[in-house]
Amino acid sequence: MTKEEANAPRAARFLVSGPPLLFLVVFFVAPSLIMILTSFRFPGEFGGLAPITAPAGADHGEYGLTAEAYQFFFSNILYAEIFLKSFGVASATTLICLVMAYPLAVLIARSEKRFRNLMVLLVVLPFASNFLIRIYAWMIILGPESGLSHFINAILGAFGIAPVTLLFSPFAVLIGMVYVHLPFMVLPLYTNLEKHDPSLLDAAQDLGANGWQRFWRVTWPLSLPGVFSGSALVFIPVLGMFAVPDILGGTGDILIGNLIKDQFLGTRDWPFGSALSIMLTLAVLSVAGLTAWFARSATGRRAA
């Protein structure tokens, strides 16, 4: 083999992987590093950032760097509460999505082959329309003049209970979150359930298991990988979502996403906004890591 021939694959490799690698280093890695750096800087007087070299006499330290944004985060219980609340909303959304998606995924997996693709497509289709529109649709349904609001308040009225507003409430936020993320739960569950061997259920039945036992002892443990990946796909985006609480929630329904958005586009406190983003990143990483760990130990135990 000549030297040119040996070099050709390496050149091809460089040509193919080089451009996307370069692009992502510049527009994904560098921005992430800048965000970490920003979280340790001082906020500017009129928003943005103070100069990196501290003016003489200022107590900004030698390099104009500080951990003040993090100290501020931990000094006020309010921020921990917002994080906790966001985790609560994400958990509730994940759980509701799981309970709704599971029977549907089982049904699709057990349907005749020629119907399966259509049934999956019918789940994905609404998810393909603009997500603002999907949230907006619930604004109409839950609005004070909507049929649903009139109906519910008529029933409540009959029992002498004061009318309720459905829109701009934690309830509306939860519905919006579930609606926007449901397909992310259905798809991995279906992909998993479709691979199950139906003869396992027959065997369980022959051994005298009833319907509930067949589900709980056979289907459910086998579906755990799908449950874990679906849960991660719902939990993580919900954690950073700000548009749903913005549109469907009231003023009190602030989640991490809204807090971050306000720091950048409202109060313009970049260091604090960056610190919050880093905390969110850490939260996402730990959720992803925990999910992977649970998934491995759960499926590992079954294999053993």
């Binding site: 694959p9 994904f28 921005p31 029977p103 393909a128 529109i133 619930w138 950073g240």
Partner: protein, 266 residues
């Protein structure tokens, strides 16, 4: 039908209704002759008429179209390369860089790009920053589709091409590219839809200049809801539906031709 099946079908019925009723309501009310999204008054096309007379909305639509076309072009080019590289070479860093932006909350990408554009590049936020931002998150989706297609193919096709004396470039141009073409087009269509629909990342990288469609819709929803929003929503749903049908056609065409290839070679 067994009791379990009845139970499953009713659960599925409720969920399908949950998925579709909101969208049907949006479409219906876009033809409702009332300023309120409450009672059905009568059929009208006036919301579509006001929509097409709304110059800011039209500019926003044109801008979103330019952004989506540019972003999907560059994302398809880079994403196809990434998909090929990940499938072909044992790379460690590239897959992480390609797939992480897809898996993390969008707000993080939007915020970090905002800081990067303003601090490092000193860029005035606008169309260019949005195109770059959209390209960044679309690359991963294209790479996933292209890689999936490559994984389903028989490696011996490429070996045969090499044995017959094709150079790497010839193998790519005459064998690989035609085979992955449906995936490339599907990736481009997906990027286009993702870009034209994206709200979160656009929101952070848009600047104060030109109007952009999702931002315009967001403002309309937040400030004053008029049935015009229903009309633009209906049109956007229609556009997405058309894109999906084209992509699905390509996908099924691709899988049938892949089957044919593997039958011929296998």
């Amino acid at each position: 039908m067994s009791r379990t099946n009845i139970w499953l079908w009713s659960a599925a019925g409720v969920i399908y209704a949950f998925l579709y009723v909101p969208l049907v309501i949006v479409v219906l009310y876009s033809f409702n002759d009332s300023k309120l999204n409450a009672e059905w008054v009568g059929f009208t096309l006036s919301w579509y008429k006001t929509l097409f007379q709304n110059t800011e909305m039209l500019t926003a639509a044109r801008n979103s179209l330019i952004i989506a076309l540019s972003a999907s072009f560059s994302a398809t080019l880079l994403g196809t390369m990434a998909g090929l590289a990940i499938h072909r070479y044992k790379l460690k860093v590239l897959p992480i860089l390609v797939f992480t932006p897809v898996a993390m909350p969008e707000i993080l990408l939007g915020v970090s790009l905002l800081l990067f554009f303003l601090q490092v590049l000193n860029l005035t936020l606008g169309m260019v920053s949005i195109i770059i931002a959209h390209t960044t998150f679309c690359i991963g989706f294209v790479a996933i589709i292209v890689r999936a297609r490559l994984q389903g193919m028989d490696e011996s096709i490429f070996e045969a091409a090499r044995d017959l004396g094709a150079s790497p470039w010839q193998t790519f141009r005459l064998v690989t590219l035609p085979l992955i073409m449906p995936a490339v087009v599907a990736g481009a269509l997906m990027s286009f839809t993702l870009s034209i629909d994206d709200f979160v990342i656009t929101f952070f990288t848009k600047g104060v200049g030109e109007p952009i469609l999702p931002i315009h819709i967001y403002t309309m929803i937040k400030v004053a809801v008029t049935p015009e929003v229903n009309a633009i929503s209906t049109l956007l749903m229609l556009l997405t539906l058309v894109m999906i049908i084209i992509a699905a056609r390509l996908e099924s065409h691709a899988s049938s031709s892949a089957n044919a290839t593997s039958r011929e070679t296998g």
